[in-house]
């Protein structure tokens, strides 16, 4: 879907992930960046998608419970013995 003209806001919001992943055709990339330079709302939108990705990457990790870990190591020893 490559056009040479102006990129409308409605189209831009659908292309943000492709833009982040560097999967836009050069002409679309140029239209995307030109639009961002001219449209404050889309600039805000793009920044918010960036923030969303960043915050998702900083959610705390949950770990395996110590009991489950011990049970796994015990199972590992049993598995090892069964193969001897």
């Amino acid at each position: 879907m490559t056009h040479n003209g102006h990129m409308p806001c409605r189209e831009l919001v659908e292309l943000v992930t492709d833009y982040f992943e560097d999967r836009l055709a050069p002409t679309d990339r140029a239209r995307f960046e030109q639009h961002i330079g001219e449209c404050g709302y889309c600039g805000t939108y793009l920044e918010q998608m960036r923030q969303t990705v960043r915050v998702l990457g900083r959610l705390p990790e949950e770990s395996l419970s110590p009991e489950a870990r011990d049970a796994l190591l015990t199972a590992f020893r049993g598995w090892r013995r069964s193969r001897l």
Partner: protein
């Protein structure tokens, strides 16, 4: 000099070797290596399990079962993907089987086509095609969020994000968990999920759009243009 090489030897016992060597060590019963990968990769397996099963206990069981299947199948690891990707693929299958068994059937949300409907932003956010000056321009535009990263990472904001992720269709939830929460590459996510690159991006984009929308609702940040 001596000390340095001694430290080098110690560091060498950590799994820095290639994936095939690691697989061989596991296969040979190296418990230290096994404990290391269990500690390193179980949080990712747990997150993936939670993408399918809301029950924390069931998710912990998925982690257990995944590692047992990894041991059972380790001889079959061929090094075509990284060992971590291979393990995550097994985890996805274990979690899916379990959620299917729990639901007794595949939910409809999983059966629809990956690509199909339009965007996920509400239609009324944009001016209609026939608008005299600004067709397809924002009708209700986004406004800035609190700029302090602290506020974006507050407990309440996290809750909003976690709820938004939990409300996503299962496949979107898996993709956003792998890509954004766990930081996997596009290639790793595609291999683990058996998706094409294009479909992976469509699912990821929808998921991100929905999570952003939830944050926007929480911050009350929109305005008529």
């Amino acid at each position: 000099m001596l000390q340095r090489s001694a430290r080098g030897v110690t560091a060498g016992t950590a799994p820095s070797a290639g994936d095939e060597a690691l697989a061989r060590a596991l296969s040979a019963g190296d418990e230290e290596r096994f404990a290391h990968v269990v500690d390193a990769w179980s949080p990712a397996i747990l997150a993936l399990a939670l993408a399918r099963l809301r029950d924390r206990e069931a998710a912990q069981e998925v982690v257990q079962q995944t590692w047992l299947e990894v041991l059972r199948g380790i001889e079959r690891f061929e090094g075509r993907s990284s060992l971590r990707t291979w393990v995550l693929g097994i985890a996805l299958n274990v979690a899916r089987e379990r959620s299917r068994a729990a639901a007794r059937s595949v939910p409809f949300s999983e059966m629809g086509p990956v690509v199909g409907d339009g965007g996920v932003l509400p239609e009324d956010r944009f001016e209609p095609a026939g608008h005299p000056h600004a067709p397809h321009h924002w009708a209700i535009g986004p406004t800035r969020w609190p700029s302090a990263e602290d506020e974006l990472l507050s407990g309440e904001t996290r809750r909003v994000i976690l709820d938004a992720v939990a409300a996503l269709p299962a496949r979107q939830r898996e993709v956003i968990t792998l890509r954004d929460i766990l930081g996997c590459s596009a290639g790793e996510a595609c291999t683990a999920l058996g998706l094409s690159d294009a479909n992976q991006r469509v699912l990821l984009h929808r998921a991100r759009t929905r999570v952003r929308l939830a944050l926007e609702g929480y911050f009350g940040a929109t305005e008529p243009t």
